[in-house]
Amino acid sequence: MTATPSRHPGLNLGHAHGDAHEASEEFVFGFWVFMMSDLILFGLLFATYVTMLGGTAGGPGPGELFELKSAFIETMLLLVSSFTFGMASLALKYRTDRKVLVAWLLVTLLLGLGFLAHELYDFHKMFTEGGVPSRSGFLSAFFALVPLHGLHVTGACIWLIALLGQIAVHGLDTPTKTGLMRLAILWHFLDVVWIGIFSLVYLGGIV
């Protein structure tokens, strides 16, 4: 590869993709800006969570409710899904067989859904142990922060399904390519946010 000036932060498609490479400049840059805005959202919820750690109001606290093993499994699911999306991005960039790209995307989707299922199971368990958001300020803060991440993952999965549909209908044209590039950023972003949640909420709560 010759060194070409990058059009936006992160993985660039490169000139070989012609039109899609051109078009991605604004789309991907715009999506980065959106990510910054979204990051403020998460940052504030993290801050709210930290300020409300003491507000358990006699209800169950982190020590009683969180299970490190479960959170660790979720972390692994999400980290691996980030890796598989990375492989999908490379397949997109180097125009490997489309089947390979779709396969990586499907694996990513399965991992994402697995994460969601596991998270829902965790919430269910917390509920049965009395860890409901209406119990205390602390639990309210937890159930604003962590499920918001889950909602983002849900949204990302729907988007991924929609993009798989687009690949089926329209093939790998410019809108599909730029869509995949933006979704990749979101996916990795959610991974980073989850690492924050895992460290601060779960590790921090149990230590």
Partner: protein
């Protein structure tokens, strides 16, 4: 049957009608209030019916749909934003007049119920900030910024249409609350625990939450759109320090929107979780803490102040320079000052609650940070004065607003510094002094800027100048009315009168509240004069046409194209060689309208129904949430999700305008311009001004 009604209507019942109180409890006061409230509701219904009637009568539904509602054109979207702003301005001004009248007779009572008064100040504040100021500035930036940087549209035209739709949905929600009452009484800042369901279980606060949430989502998307456009779509040669100052302020505002809106989204979302799902963020019990809300709200609220005022600063910069016939003084300093204000605006939020009991050291630090903002702001004011210094100042309507602004704004700056000193703020916090201060910043600072900007760019957008004499009368009434309405509030604040008082018991307040009421009536007159100005201008449009597009001897690129501009803005994307790009072009002898060497096909975004769909579903979701009509929330939510997914499958996203069409249109315009006589500034306000300015080389100014 009853069960079905409950399922269908949620908690909506007869008591939502604005005259219900008067039926249940027919006291004189309740009847008077019912008449006022029902009158307002009837006006909304009547306005809607008239609009529908006219559109049907003139068979313009299709035109409305394809030319406006689904249009991705930044110019049309900008105009629609401004229309929303003006309609909402009219309502909020009328509400302000009622509040001033209430206080004028408020010694011991007044004619409004406390509940009604509470709704008035809440809707007034909410509308003025979220549905007047925000759409107004968004509309003007939308219209002007792409023309100034030499591009054909925003980076994400359909998202722009969605932004418009979300703002429209929020505005509609506030309007519907006049028919299906009540609205919140918690003020525009909605502090819990007053706004928690324990103290206010009704639909009012929920109206407020969802209206504001729609507006913040709209503004976040708008901020992203503006910022990306300015970063990525500038014309060749338009380097950062060649940007017109208005575009600089648009960029700073966009950045503030991106970072400043999420805190409010979080605040209203958490409040909604408290109210709907029994969470405990801001409740007094079970570990909640309302002070978190106050911090979140003002982490948005203070940047918001600068979101509101920076674009007006940009407009004033353009106006001072253009109508003084002179280069802007201290361009570099103005850019630095704008940036400094934008950054500092995130560091001062605590000054909104010096009295909440934190340590004196923290108060002092935030007080000093607040004063620091005064430095770049003061520099700006002096830069504008020095821009006029040694100029040739023409008193066109925009300039009257601008000069009124500069003097009144200085006074507002003084009172701002007073409020920034915590030890003095302990005396005047939450008093009418505070109300006077922020109106003193936002009426001259924001509204005069928007009105001045409207007078300035109207001929560009519609092809004819606004009528001058009625415009001057309106501007003077705004200035005089403002002074009379708000300077007395400073006195009342110093005398200890709390804001949001439906009644008072101190006879010493009376002269001041009376004076303020007169001022409010003069502002109402000013609104009327604006209407007359618009009507007279449309009536006389043929004598005031400016097809050549440059009625004020403008300096930036938007004046180089026809008025109104073609949908593609520039037949050929201009190349920029300096600041004040168009003025330089006029000066360098190549002529105001050089003939392009060649034309190319132009690709423009295709119409999309996403904006109207998101407006409709956004409104229905918010309405359903407010009244607990869950089926509606679910249905509208599913429709909007389907629309978003389906949009991804659309491939007809652009359409192409052939080079021949562009050539034909542009050359016809050049031909027309060649027959227009260039005018000197002496003839600026005469029918001779058809938008072609005499070249500076020929002494246009002298």
């Amino acid at each position: 049957m009853n069960h079905w009604a409950e399922w269908l209507l949620g908690r909506l019942d007869w008591s939502a009608l604005p005259f219900w109180d008067a039926i249940v409890d027919p006291t004189t006061k309740n009847i008077v209030n019912a008449i006022i409230a029902s009158g307002a509701g009837a006006m909304v219904i009547l306005g809607g019916l008239i609009a529908i009637g006219v559109l049907t009568w003139t068979r313009r539904w299709r035109w409305l749909w394809s030319e406006w509602l689904t249009s991705p054109d930044h110019k049309k979207i900008g105009i629609m934003f401004i229309v929303i702003a003006l309609v909402m301005l009219a309502r909020a001004v009328i509400e302000a007049v009622f509040m001033r009248l209430q206080q004028a007779v408020g010694l011991g009572g007044g004619f409004l119920t406390a509940e009604h008064f509470g709704q008035l100040f809440t809707t007034h504040g909410t509308i003025m900030v979220f549905f007047m100021a925000m759409p107004f500035l968004t509309g003007i930036i939308n219209y002007v910024m792409p023309l100034q940087i030499g591009t054909r549209d925003l980076s994400f035209p359909v998202m722009n249409s969605v932004s418009l739709g979300l703002t429209a949905a929020g505005a509609a929600l506030v309007m519907v609350s006049l028919i299906l009452a009540p609205f919140s009484t918690g003020g525009w800042s909605g502090y819990p625990s007053f706004t928690e369901s324990a103290a206010n279980p009704g639909a009012g606060v929920d109206y407020w939450i969802w209206a504001v949430t729609l507006s913040t989502l709209s503004s976040t998307l708008t901020g992203i759109n503006f910022a990306v456009t300015i970063y990525k779509k500038r014309a060749p040669g338009m380097s950062w320090f060649r940007l017109p100052l208005f575009t600089w302020t648009a960029l700073c505002t966009a950045i503030l929107m991106i970072f400043g809106m999420p805190p409010l989204t979080v605040a209203t979302a958490l409040l909604a979780l408290d109210r709907y799902l029994d969470f405990h963020f801001f409740t007094a019990d079970l570990g909640g803490n309302m002070m978190n809300y106050v911090n979140l709200f003002w982490a948005f609220g203070h940047p918001e102040v600068y979101i509101l005022i920076l674009p007006a600063f940009g407009i004033f910069s353009e106006i001072f320079s253009t109508f003084s016939g002179k280069k802007l003084y201290g361009y570099g300093a103005l850019v630095i000052a704008t940036m400094a204000i934008a950054v500092l605006s995130f560091t001062v939020w605590l000054h909104h609650f010096f009295t909440m009991g934190q340590s004196a050291h923290i108060n002092a630090i935030f007080g000093i940070a607040t004063m620091l903002i005064g430095i770049p702001t003061g520099v700006k004011v002096y830069d504008w004065m020095l821009t006029m210094f040694r100029g040739r100042i023409r008193f066109a309507v925009p300039m009257i607003y601008a000069v009124g602004f500069i003097i009144l704004f200085a006074i507002g700056g003084l009172t701002g510094i007073i409020l920034a000193v915590p030890s003095v703020d302990y005396q005047i916090h939450n008093s009418l002094f505070l109300v006077a201060h922020f109106h003193n910043m936002l009426i001259p600072g924001l509204l005069f800027g928007m009105l001045g900007g409207t007078n300035f760019w109207f001929p560009k957008a519609f092809g004819f100048r606004l009528e001058e004499r009625w415009g001057r009368r309106a501007a003077l009434c705004w200035i005089v009315g403002f002074m009379l309405a708000f300077f007395p509030l400073y006195a009342l604040g110093v005398l200890g009168m709390p804001r949001r008082s439906a009644a008072f018991f101190e006879p010493a307040y009376l002269p001041w509240t009376l004076a303020a009421a007169v001022g409010a009536l003069i502002i109402l007159l000013a609104m009327l004069l604006l209407l007359i100005q618009l009507w007279v201008s449309i009536r006389d449009r043929d004598t005031n046409r400016v097809p050549a597009g440059d009625p004020w001897d403008g300096r930036s690129l938007e004046w180089s194209v026809s008025a109104p501009p073609p949908e593609y803005n520039f037949p050929v994307i201009p190349e920029v060689h300096s600041r004040d790009a168009y003025m330089r072009q006029k000066e360098n002898g190549r002529g105001a309208h050089p003939r392009p060497d060649e034309y190319t096909d132009i690709v423009m975004p295709a119409n999309s129904a996403m904006g109207p769909i998101m407006a409709a579903t956004g409104f229905l979701i918010a309405f359903g949430l407010t009244w607990y009509e869950w089926w509606l929330v679910a249905a509208a939510g599913i429709v909007s999700l389907i629309a978003l997914v389906a949009r991804g499958y659309v491939r007809q996203r652009t359409r192409t305008i052939p080079a021949q069409t562009v050539r034909r249109e542009h050359e016809a315009w050049l031909e027309r311009v060649s027959r227009i006589r260039p005018v000197s500034r002496r003839e600026e306000q005469t029918p001779a001004n058809q938008g072609l300015a005499m070249s500076p080389l020929e002494g246009a100014i002298q």
